[in-house]
């Protein structure tokens, strides 16, 4: 249309050149009288109809649907008979062993003749083979360093300046409980304290908020979880009482108590432990020791009362004379017990650490009556069978090796750790770990040659006797201001964990490097060699 308008205008103008221009608007090839190829041309408009749905318009149809109506009906049901039944898990019964079966001698001989050569050949090959030298398989994630997994504390206890005096892992290894009290000298008889527990497996673990808190009217000085019941824990108090709590009952956790009777300790309880009952090995009694010289066994009876079942008293004159001991300066006859450890091999054998610094080998089966005038509802017996050479000061901790029946460790205020064999009085080795006191020592539950010690200088020392018998392999600084670490415990279920409590009221859970959790191939034998170094 533009071209037609243009030609119209140009024709009115009436000039011949313009007419040429006008005809040039028509689309045609070059020819006589027509313009050349490089001329402007305008072509007609071409249009393409739109394919967009919106322009095309939506094709609509109306449809409807309806669910079929649901048939309902009412009916009632009532159980007429019901039966009550109870289920109770029982402690595992030891599997009875099958006797040797009968066999046909000639056929057995024929079989052995057939295989002997092959077996001997393989045995020889193994003996000489170096194929596996240095070959190690790693099944667990390798942890190179010791790291602090959790720093736990209970602010109200810390605000009162309470120390962590005892630590215990429960039977499943997922809960760590600590006891608050004071371990320095002073009259703590009116001090109220706490027992706190954290469940490390729970999501949303809050380090400042324990999963269970028990308020206790007196300072708690030691703690021990029940070996099979994951929520029962026993604690020894400054007042001499022994209490057992059930942490799964927050409104009323106290299960049993000794109360303040004639049988109760007259001094603060140094340590508590759980022992299997002699006849029923799935039931347990509580053992408590104190500086009044008594070792007492309690059983829970009736309405929350702990009753004394057996008792022992340590009397100076009745101690075996296997070591010469200094006479007690005040002329008292009782020997204060400060630490106890039971042998993993003989359930009636235990080691006591004393205020006099000498460990005692004792037995629950001892029969001799104790020469003491302390009142007691059951006759007190003298348990000591052997006296070992003393430390330079009171012993604060003893630990029996879980891998060797004769070895145990003791640590005390002289800053030394002694490794004793039960077969001789002087220690096999004496190591000075600290210039201050040592408060705790524990054998590792998985590595026969490893033990840990807690020092008054605020560190946890890990000793690997395979690496060095002189200095610690790893030194973990727990407190920044060198306030003492008072207690530590390995976790026997999750063997890479070690918990330690200090004077600042903090419990730190340390994750040990893999070297401390995996046994080497000949470690048990190396421990035997160490134990065999008994002086003749």
């Amino acid at each position: 249309t533009a071209t037609r308008a243009q030609s119209g205008l140009l024709e009115r103008a009436g000039s011949a050149g313009v007419a040429v221009l006008a005809t040039g608007g028509v689309a045609s090839g070059p020819g006589p009288g027509r313009p050349g190829p490089l001329q402007d041309e305008t072509l007609g408009v071409a249009s393409v109809p739109s394919q967009w749905r919106a322009v095309q318009g939506i094709r609509e149809e109306t449809k409807s649907c309806q669910t079929a109506s649901i048939a309902t009906a009412n009916a009632s049901a009532q159980a007429r008979n019901h039966v009550d039944a109870q289920v109770q898990t029982e402690a595992p019964v030891p599997v009875s062993v099958q006797p040797l079966s009968r066999y046909d001698v000639p056929r057995l001989a024929a079989f052995l003749r057939r295989v002997e050569a092959m077996v001997i050949r393989e045995l020889n090959k193994n003996w000489q083979s170096h194929a596996f030298d240095g070959f190690e398989v790693n099944w667990t994630e390798q942890q190179q360093m010791v790291s602090c997994l959790y720093t736990l504390g209970y602010p109200p206890a810390q605000a009162q300046g309470l120390h962590v005096t005892g630590i215990s892992w429960n039977s499943t290894g997922s809960v760590v409980a600590c006891a608050y009290g004071r371990l320095d000298h002073g009259d703590w008889s009116t001090l109220k304290s706490f027992v706190c527990a954290w469940n490390l497996d729970r999501r949303g673990l809050s380090p400042r908020q324990p999963s269970a808190v028990v308020e206790v009217p007196s300072a708690v000085l030691c703690l021990a979880f029940h070996p099979t019941q994951p929520s029962h824990v026993a604690g020894g108090l400054y007042s001499g009482e022994v209490l057992v709590w059930d942490l799964s009952r927050p409104e009323d956790p106290l299960l049993w108590r000794t109360g303040l009777t004639d049988d109760t300790h007259t001094d603060p309880v140094s340590q508590v432990a759980w022992l299997p009952e002699p006849e029923h090995s799935h039931r347990f009694q509580v053992l408590s020791i104190a500086t009044d010289g008594k070792v007492l066994l309690w059983r829970g009876v009736g309405a929350g009362q702990l009753q004394l079942t057996e008792g022992f008293a340590l009397v100076m004159q009745q101690l075996p004379r296997s070591t010469k001991l200094k006479k007690h300066p005040r002329g008292e006859t009782e020997v204060g017990a400060t630490a106890v450890a039971f042998s993993s091999f003989d359930p009636r054998l235990f080691i006591l650490g004393t205020e006099g610094g000498f460990p005692l080998k004792c037995s629950l089966a001892a029969g001799e009556a104790a020469l003491t005038r302390m009142p007691s509802s059951v006759p007190l017996r003298a348990p000591a069978q052997f006296t070992f050479s003393p430390h330079g000061g009171p012993i604060y901790a003893v630990s029996c090796s879980p891998f060797h029946r004769n070895l145990f460790l003791s640590a005390g205020t002289d800053g030394h750790v002694h490794l004793y064999s039960m077969l001789q009085a002087p220690p096999l080795t004496s190591l000075q770990l600290s210039l201050k006191y040592l408060f705790a020592v524990r054998w590792s539950p998985v590595r026969p040659l490893v033990f840990a010690a807690a020092s008054g200088e605020g560190d946890v020392q890990l000793f690997d006797l395979q690496k060095s018998s002189q200095k610690p392999t790893v030194l973990i600084k727990q407190t920044q201001d060198e306030s003492p670490v008072y207690c530590l415990e390995f976790n026997s279920q999750q063997t890479q964990l070690l918990a330690a409590g200090d004077a600042q009221g903090t419990v730190k859970v340390w994750q040990l490097s893999t070297e401390f959790t995996e046994q080497g191939p000949r470690e048990a034998e190396d421990l035997d060699l160490l134990a065999a170094e008994v002086a003749t």
């Binding site: 099958q98 040797l100 066999y103 001989a109 057939r114 002997e116 045995l123 000949r522």
Partner: protein, 100 residues
Amino acid sequence: NEAEEILNRIKNHKGVVGILVVNSEGLIIKSTFDEQQSDLHATLLTQLSDKARDVVRELDPQNDISFLRLRSKKHEIMIAPDKEYTLIVVQDPYAHKDSS
């Protein structure tokens, strides 16, 4: 008794920790281990030996197991299975490499 002699020779070989002879049902015929360890070894190792035999025969039905060796960090367990009896020997291959 020839059977006893052979067992003694094997038992006294360098590094042998213990030996066990079980019958085809897994019942113990002879053992140098204590009761509990004998039981454990017999049950577990006959199961392992049976499974190993199944593996060999499934991979190739014309094949059959002749000997089984299991090496762990601390020991080597050798199992010689047979139709009626199985001999199990536990050896500590490091027993003479005490250089500490």
